[in-house]
């Protein structure tokens, strides 16, 4: 009987003690990490923060949701990995030992289907509200709301342009302001942006404001945010947009309303120009021309 359970491997005796031992050490390290993070979230700042500084009105809600998922998954992580390690130690092969013979347990299957199922479904429903508040167009500030700062975002390879309506509150008039790479917004005021790209996909990513949205060629994509702290923050491009993708950085500069108004007045004269963004000003290339360029005249298109 005993040689039936002994798999013919010479070193099973030594390994059966070292493998679970090493796994246990790894697990304790991970568990320690979890405790450190827990300490962090309760005020003992031992680690750098897991999330960047939150500066928008919905950032707090999103971070709360993040932590809900973190601790839920963290619980199941510790539970399952802990059981795994415990089983590795408790049930390591012993000479003459015999495994249980069972094909399963119907009740257990029901329990571990039902409980995670309910938790997961709850999570999915629970987070819909926040998603809707940020992304659903009908919940955004209206396009003609005068109490909202309206800004147009134009992206091209590898630059961000921003256009402000100027004093008259209308886009496409003479007093429009345009900036390159610097998005200036007033603090504590809702900002509605209209985003367009003229060439490829880009993604407008404000890590501190917890906002990300791809820009789609051929579409105008609206978004909104409200920043609660002044300062200078990074604006990133989060969608691969070509060779210079890594350089497509910008900054979000949050000013008090007075500073913002002062800047707008001052910048009215020194606008950065429009960078050839108005598609109407460009010559449309007929398809036969593209064909000859691609195949007859050397295939270079630049």
């Amino acid at each position: 009987m005993s040689d039936a359970t002994q798999i013919n491997q010479p070193d099973s005796g030594t390994e059966s003690s070292s493998a679970p031992g090493a796994a246990l050490i790894g697990f304790l390290v991970v568990l320690g990490g979890m405790l450190l993070i827990f300490a962090n979230s309760t005020g003992f700042k031992l680690l750098p923060p897991l999330l960047p500084k939150a500066i928008s009105t919905y950032a707090e809600d999103m971070d709360f949701l993040f932590w809900v998922i973190f601790w839920l998954t963290g619980f199941f992580f510790v539970l399952t990995e802990g059981l795994l390690i415990y089983f590795c130690i408790r049930f390591r092969a012993k000479d003459g030992g015999k495994a249980e013979h069972t094909h399963g347990n119907h009740k257990l299957e029901l329990i571990w289907t039902f409980i995670p199922g309910v938790i997961l479904f709850f999570l999915a429903i629970f987070q819909l509200g926040l998603w809707g508040d940020i992304k659903v167009v009908s919940k955004m500030p209206a396009e003609d709301d005068p109490n909202v700062q309206h800004i147009q975002v134009f992206a091209k390879q590898f630059e961000w342009y921003f256009r402000y309506p100027g004093a008259d509150g209308e886009f496409g008039t003479k007093d429009d302001l345009t900036t390159l790479a610097e998005l200036r917004v007033p603090v504590n005021k809702k900002v509605r942006i209209q985003m367009r790209t003229r060439d490829v996909l880009h993604s407008f990513f404000l890590p501190n404001a917890r906002l990300k949205q791809d820009l789609l060629p051929g579409h105008t994509v609206p978004q909104w945010f409200e920043i609660t702290e002044t300062g200078k923050y990074d604006l990133m491009c989060a969608e691969l947009c070509g060779a210079g993708h890594t350089r497509m950085s910008g900054s979000l500069i949050v000013l008090s309303q007075e500073d913002f108004d002062a800047w707008a007045k001052e910048a009215a004269e020194t606008s950065a120009g429009f960078g050839g963004h108005n598609p109407d000003s460009l010559k449309r290339e007929p398809i036969w021309y593209w064909w000859t360029r691609r195949y007859v005249r050397g295939g270079k298109k630049k």
Partner: protein, 616 residues
């Protein structure tokens, strides 16, 4: 025997003939239609391609950690694009579906070969032109594809150079190979099972490969059409994906009415199921390895099989979570959030059942089993981080950051690839008649295990801090990313060691092939049919097609002579069966009918057999 189960006439005819392997080196070893050789060819070539894919990853990681080095941003884009493409299309999919699928399916179900052996040969040999297309990109003007493995238009249309077109051609060829393989697997599993091998007596590896094949068959054509449209956009000036008023340089393109989101939908309609194509076979293999080395029946065989089906079914309705930020209707995002969150459930069921399999077992820490246990441990991490991504609201922050890079590597490297390693350690004795060296195997395991976590775990942290993926030089965002630079260097060094650790693995293969320990038919004392064949199996697998009497996981049966009862072992005669030989005391419905098969009693065409159905 012949009356025991409905059988395909062709298989019956096969039972009497026995001709040897084809004469001649080329027909036998190179352009062979023998599923075992094809499987080994798939495995070895994907391992070699994996070295290239790994090398490309090292280049990309070097640039990330040390942005000062002389490497162009476009070359960086090429290296991570081709790293992902090679690893996904030329390593994980061919190794799992092509390699293990080909090698194991006929052996495990008791067939002499695949249903369509020539098609099988073709499915391997189109992989080489695909590899050629991928690699040729590096030698043409403009370089290889550099738009990420997702190749989103309009960027993938505007990129100059032929690399992107070659890439799309290569993907079509890989898809062609997948479809040829999938047709073969499905037909073989449905038609060529040995007598007594009902669907619910198949090892979970076969179940997983079966469901994978269905996924491949249904999803791959959509990818192929996306790629054909992409080639049309690039080479013919069509307008599937380009809207009007797109501008390149200073020219307004003469394209009208296209929609970039169309490509994303088509791409992810394949590529999300592809994620399951890349993990399900590993899940099946791990189930078999765990059961063997815990000397226990798999816990909840049927829930395991049904959860595979649930993953595959749900896998077709979750692709939109890749597109939460793409600008599609946010209400669609809500629907995809719910389906995506729920797909975590069958994965959770599988994890709990693996734990149940280990509970009360006699766990032998062989190299194969170490990799399998690591698979479970790492898949838990990959699965749980998926829940963050599935929640569309949290995804707003972590989408396209390193968090997703960490998540995908926890699923694809630390799970799928670890599963492949485990499978190689486990079935190597069957393939070559020699064991891989256990000591080297354990060194390989611990090096891989420690350093893969060193590479991939910190990615979650820098991801939540907002580090975008596919960024060559973090110094463009000094405010946000400066304090993460040392983590990048740490990860890159771990990646170097991880890459170099694989030398141990290759050395182990070479050493063991030359002078490994010779083994018999069943070195691990496992139950399924492949261990009934010789090691390595004879040209047509079995001298006589075996008859199957029970499920594949009858380990440690009380009262049995040994702690395993092979599927081929006939039950004791009913007269002597006071102690039921292979029935499960916990399965109330299994006891009575289980003995009926001993005297060749009809098993019925419904495919339901009483034995081995415990836990129902």
């Amino acid at each position: 025997m012949s009356d025991s189960v409905p059988m395909d006439p062709a298989a019956v005819a096969h039972e009497v003939h026995d001709h040897g392997p084809p004469k001649g080196f080329w027909r036998r070893w190179v352009f062979t239609s023998d599923h075992k050789i094809i499987g080994i060819q798939f495995l070895l070539s994907s391992l070699l391609w994996g070295l290239i894919g790994g090398g490309l990853a090292m280049m990309a990681r070097t640039k990330i950690a040390f942005p000062d080095i002389e490497m162009g941003e476009q070359f960086y884009n090429m290296s991570f694009t081709m790293h992902a493409s090679v690893m996904i299309f030329l390593v994980i999919i061919p190794a799992l579906a092509g390699g293990f699928g080909n090698y194991l399916i006929p052996l495990m179900i008791g067939a002499r070969d695949m249903a369509f052996p020539t098609l099988n040969m073709l499915s391997y040999w189109v992989m080489w032109p695909a590899f050629g297309c991928f690699m040729a990109g590096f030698f043409v003007e403009g370089g290889s594809a550099a738009t990420g493995w997702t190749a989103y238009p309009p960027l993938s249309v505007f990129e100059t150079g032929s690399g992107q077109t070659l890439w799309a051609t290569g993907v079509i060829l890989v898809g062609w190979s997948s479809v040829m393989g999938a047709v073969n697997y499905i037909t073989t599993i449905i038609k060529l099972r040995a007598p007594g091998m009902t669907l619910f007596r198949m090892p979970l590896t076969v179940w997983a490969l079966f469901i994978t094949a269905i996924l491949q068959l249904l999803a791959t054509p959509v990818l192929a059409s996306a790629m054909i449209c992409l080639i049309g956009e690039r080479e013919l000036g069509t307008s599937f994906f380009l809207p009007n008023s797109t501008v390149v340089g200073d020219t307004l393109m003469a394209r009208d009415g296209g929609q970039p989101l169309l490509f994303q939908h088509m791409f992810w309609f394949y590529s999300h199921p592809a994620v399951y194509i890349m993990i399900l076979p590993a899940m099946g293999m791990v189930s078999d390895i765990l059961a063997t080395f815990c000397r226990k029946p798999i816990f909840g065989y049927r829930p395991m099989a049904f959860s595979l089906m649930a993953i595959a079914g749900l896998g077709f309705v979750v692709w939109g979570h890749h597109m939460f930020m793409s600008g599609m209707n946010p209400y669609l995002g809500m629907a995809f959030t719910i389906s995506t969150t729920m797909i975590a459930l069958p994965s959770a069921i599988k994890v709990f059942n693996w734990l149940g399999t280990m509970w009360g077992g006699q766990i032998h820490f062989t190299s194969a089993n170490l990799f399998s246990i690591a698979f479970v441990a790492m898949f838990i991490i990959g699965g749980l981080t998926g829940i963050f991504m599935a929640s569309s609201a949290v995804d707003i922050h972590i989408h396209d950051t390193y968090f997703i890079v960490g998540h995908i590597h926890y699923v694809l490297f630390t799970s799928s690839m670890i599963g492949i390693f485990g499978g190689i350690y486990y079935w190597f004795p069957k393939m070559f008649g020699k064991k891989l060296d256990e000591r080297l195997g354990k060194i390989h395991f611990w090096l891989t295990f420690v350093f893969m976590n060193g590479v991939f775990f910190p990615m979650h942290y820098i991801g939540t801090r907002g580090y975008p993926r596919r960024i060559a030089d973090w110094r463009n965002y000094p405010d946000s990313l400066a304090d993460l630079a040392w983590i990048n260097i740490f990860m890159t060094i771990c990646a170097y060691v991880l890459f170099l650790s694989q030398i141990v693995f290759f050395w182990n293969i070479i050493k063991s092939l030359r002078k490994g320990e010779r083994v018999g038919n069943n070195p691990w004392k496992a139950n399924s049919l492949e261990w009934h064949a010789t090691s390595p199996p004879w040209h047509e697998n079995f001298q006589i097609i075996p008859t199957v009497y029970r499920g594949p996981y009858e380990f440690s049966v009380p009262g049995a002579d040994e702690d395993y009862v092979m599927q081929t072992q006939p039950p004791k005669t009913p007269a002597a069966a006071d102690a039921p030989p292979a029935t499960d005391d916990s399965a109330a419905d299994g006891g009575a009918g289980g003995e009926g098969e001993g005297d060749g009693g009809a098993i019925g065409s419904g495919g339901k057999t009483p034995e081995g159905e415990g836990g129902e």
